[in-house]
C-alpha cells in the first residue's frame, strides 16, 4: 500500500441545520479508482464539491500529498470536477468547451488542438466538434462534460455520475476508456455513480455513503461479499433477508431449524435477527449447511440464468434464487412446486433485526 495521496480528514458540511456530510475520513491512494455509492441526498455531490473547492468545510481538512488544499481557490487545485449537471458553456462549441481548460494552462495552440482532437476521438464526437451544447443529445452532452474534465489530466478527477445518461453499449465502452486513460495518465479517480454494477466493475475501492456519513469502505469483493450492515447488504446487489432467532447455541429459523453462519455483525442481540444470503449462493436441494422449504411462485428467465421466486415462512417477500441455465435444464422446477433450497454457512450474514 502506497502512502495516502488524497487525505480527507473528519470533513463535515452543514447547510444551516442540515448535515450534508458527517465526519468523513478517507485516504485515497495515487492512481486509485474510487467509487462513491449512496442513495439520493446522501451527500456525494457535496463531498465532491468540497474537494473541488466550491463548498467551504464546516470542519476537518483535505490534504493532497500532505499539504492542505482546504483554503485553495478552485482554479488553483490540481483537481477537476465533472458536474452532475454537465455545466457546459452554452455559447461555445463542443471543441471550444473542451479547449477552455487547456487555454487556461496557456498551452501552445498546436498542443491544445491535438489534445482536443484526441479526446474528441475517445468520446466519439469528432463529427460534432462545431456544434453548440444545445444541439446535442443528453448523452452527447455528458460525454462533452467528461472530455472537458479529462482533457486537463488533473491529478485527481472527480466525476459526478459521469455515464448515467449513456446507453448500455456506449457506457461499457466509456468505462473501458476511463480505465485506459487512468493508466495512461496516472489520474486518481473519484466517481459517484448510482450504478452499483459499474462501481463493482470499475473501482479499486468503493465507499457507501448514508446520510452524509461513510457506512463502509472496501474493495468491490469485500463490499459485495462481506457487507458490514443490513443497509450495505441491501444497497449493493440483490440480497435475501430471512427472519431468524437467536438461540442458546446460534441461530434458528422460526420452525426451529438451526441456521449456521460464519458472519455475525455487531449489535446482534437476543431475540429476532436477520439472516442474509445472496440469490446466487442458494442451490436446489438440502446439501448445504442450511436449508429451507418453499413454494415456487415465479420463474424469470434471463438467458444465462434463471431467477426463482420462492415463497417461504422465513420471509414476507419471496426469496430470490439464481440458477444457472444448465441446473435449470436438468431439474427445472415449476411454478407451484414445493422445493428445498440450501446454502452454506460461509455465505450467511446475520444482522440485527
Amino acid at each position: 500500500m502506497t502512502q495516502a495521496f488524497l487525505s480527507i480528514r473528519n470533513v463535515e458540511k452543514y447547510f444551516s441545520a442540515v448535515k450534508a456530510v458527517d465526519d468523513v475520513s478517507l485516504d485515497i491512494r495515487e492512481n486509485e479508482f474510487f467509487a462513491l455509492l449512496g442513495a439520493s441526498g446522501s451527500g456525494k455531490t457535496t463531498l465532491l464539491r468540497m474537494l473541488a473547492g466550491f463548498e467551504s468545510l464546516s470542519g476537518g481538512d483535505i490534504l493532497i500529498e500532505g499539504s492542505s488544499i482546504a483554503n485553495m481557490q478552485p482554479n488553483q487545485r490540481p483537481v477537476n470536477l465533472m458536474f452532475q449537471s454537465y455545466a457546459l458553456f452554452p455559447h461555445m462549441t463542443v471543441a471550444q468547451n473542451i479547449a477552455y481548460g487547456l487555454e487556461m494552462e496557456k498551452l501552445p495552440k498546436a498542443e491544445i488542438t491535438e489534445r482536443v482532437n484526441a479526446i474528441l476521438d475517445v468520446i466519439q464526437l469528432s463529427h460534432l466538434a462545431k456544434r453548440k451544447p444545445d444541439q446535442l443529445s443528453g448523452g452527447q452532452r455528458q460525454r462533452v462534460a467528461l472530455a472537458r474534465a479529462l482533457v486537463k489530466r488533473p491529478k485527481v478527477l472527480l466525476l459526478d455520475e459521469p455515464l448515467g445518461a449513456l446507453d448500455k453499449k456506449l457506457r461499457s465502452e466509456m468505462q473501458l476508456e476511463l480505465k485506459r486513460l487512468q493508466h495512461e495518465f496516472g489520474i486518481t479517480f473519484i466517481m459517484v455513480t448510482h450504478d452499483q454494477e459499474e462501481a463493482l466493475v470499475m473501482a479499486d475501492r468503493i465507499a457507501i455513503m448514508r446520510d452524509g456519513a461513510l457506512l463502509q469502505v472496501g474493495s468491490p469483493k469485500d463490499i459485495y461479499e462481506l457487507p458490514g450492515s443490513r443497509y450495505a447488504a441491501d444497497f449493493i446487489g440483490v440480497m435475501n433477508f430471512l427472519k431468524v432467532k437467536r438461540t442458546d447455541n446460534g441461530f434458528a429459523a422460526p420452525d426451529g431449524t438451526a441456521i449456521a453462519t460464519a458472519h455475525v455483525s455487531d449489535g446482534v442481540g437476543e431475540g429476532d435477527a436477520i439472516a442474509a444470503v445472496r440469490p446466487e449462493r442458494l442451490f436446489l436441494g438440502d446439501a448445504g449447511d442450511n436449508h429451507f422449504d418453499g413454494t415456487v411462485s415465479d420463474i424469470a428467465y434471463h438467458g444465462l440464468d434463471l431467477l426463482l421466486h420462492v415463497e417461504t415462512e422465513l420471509s414476507d417477500t419471496p426469496v430470490v434464487a439464481r440458477m444457472t441455465a444448465d441446473v435449470a435444464d436438468n431439474h427445472r422446477p415449476e411454478i407451484g412446486q414445493r422445493i428445498t433450497l440450501g446454502w452454506l454457512a460461509r455465505d450467511t450474514h446475520i444482522f440485527p433485526a
Partner: protein, 286 residues
C-alpha cells in the same frame, strides 16, 4: 384547410389600438415630410425633397450627431452602472432579490417631470448641493452644475438606469451557477470567468439595455430642455421647436422620420442579437 383564427381575434384590439395611435401618426409624418412649408407656416401640398435634404445640412446634421453622441454616452454609462447593479443583485440570496429589484426600479414609478425637476432643485445655484458645500465651509467658486451637457447626460442616465438593471438582471439571474464554477474548476480566475463566460452569456441583456437607453435618449426633449436649459439643442428639442415654435411642420416631420428610421434600425439589430442569443442559449443542464 382550416386555420385557427382565435389568435387573430385576440390580437385585433391591440392591433387596432396600435394602428390608430402609432401607424397613422407615423404615416402622416412620413407623408408630411415630403410637402413644402407654407409661407406663413401651414403646409403647401406640393411634393419636395427639400426637407429631407435640409436634415442632412451640416447645421442640423451636427445636432443629429451630437444627440447620438450624448445618447450613446448616456447608454454606455447606464450599461456599466446598470450591469454592475444587476450583477450585485443577482449575486444576493434568491429570496432577497425581488426586494432589491423593487428598490432599484422604484424611481421609475414616479413622474418623469417631477424627477427631472428634482435634479434642478439639487443642482441649481441656490440648490441643495451648493448649500451643503457652503454649510461645510466651502466658499470658493463652484463649477456650474446645471445647464451643461454633462448634466443632461447625468439626467438621462439617471432616468433610464432601471431599464438597464432589469434588462441585465434577466440573463444574469438565469445563469446556472455551476457554469461559472466549471470555468473556475478548469483553471480560470474570477476575472477570466467573468470575461469569457458571464459577460458573453449576458450580452443580449446589455444590448437590450443599451438600445433602449439610446433610443429613449436620442429623441428625448424634456431632459435637455430642463437640465440643458436651452443652452444646446438635442434633436428632440429641434423637432419640438419645428412643430410648436417655428411652425415648420414638414421639416419637423422630416427630422422625425430620420429619427424614427434610426431607432427602428437599432431596435431591429437588437432583436436580431436577442434572437441569436436565445438560439444559442439553452442552459446546459441536460
Amino acid at each position: 384547410m382550416t386555420t385557427d383564427r382565435r389568435p387573430l381575434l385576440l390580437m385585433t384590439p391591440a392591433l387596432l389600438w396600435l394602428t390608430a395611435l402609432m401607424v397613422i401618426p407615423c404615416a402622416l409624418i412620413l407623408v408630411l415630410a415630403f410637402f413644402r412649408r407654407g409661407i406663413y407656416g401651414g403646409i403647401e401640398y406640393t411634393w419636395t425633397l427639400e426637407n429631407l435634404a435640409l436634415v442632412f445640412d451640416p447645421l442640423y446634421f451636427r445636432i443629429f450627431l451630437k444627440s447620438a453622441g450624448i445618447a450613446g454616452l448616456s447608454a454606455a454609462i447606464a450599461c456599466v452602472l446598470g450591469y454592475a447593479a444587476a450583477y450585485a443583485i443577482a449575486a444576493m440570496p434568491r429570496r432577497r432579490q425581488p426586494t432589491l429589484l423593487f428598490f432599484a426600479v422604484l424611481p421609475f414609478w414616479s413622474n418623469y417631470l417631477v424627477r427631472t425637476y428634482a435634479w434642478i432643485v439639487l443642482l441649481n445655484r441656490e440648490g441643495l448641493i451648493v448649500n451643503i458645500a457652503r454649510w461645510l465651509g466651502y466658499n470658493g467658486e463652484l463649477p456650474s452644475m446645471l445647464y451643461t451637457e454633462q448634466t443632461v447626460i447625468v439626467g438621462l442616465v439617471y432616468n433610464y438606469l432601471p431599464f438597464v438593471i432589469l434588462a441585465c438582471y434577466a440573463p444574469l439571474s438565469r445563469m446556472n451557477p455551476e457554469v461559472t464554477e466549471a470555468s473556475r474548476d478548469l483553471g480560470a480566475s474570477a476575472w477570466t470567468t467573468f470575461r469569457r463566460i458571464t459577460l458573453p452569456m449576458t450580452v443580449p441583456g446589455i444590448a437590450t439595455g443599451f438600445v433602449f437607453v439610446f433610443v429613449l435618449s436620442i429623441g428625448n426633449f424634456v431632459t435637455p430642455a430642463l437640465l440643458g436649459g436651452g443652452q444646446f439643442q438635442m434633436i428632440g428639442n429641434l423637432v419640438y421647436a419645428q412643430f410648436l415654435t417655428a411652425n415648420d411642420w414638414p421639416f419637423g416631420a422630416a427630422l422625425s422620420m430620420v429619427l424614427i428610421l434610426v431607432m427602428l434600425g437599432l431596435l431591429m439589430a437588437q432583436a436580431v442579437v436577442a434572437e441569436r442569443a436565445s438560439n444559442g442559449k439553452g442552459q446546459s443542464d441536460g
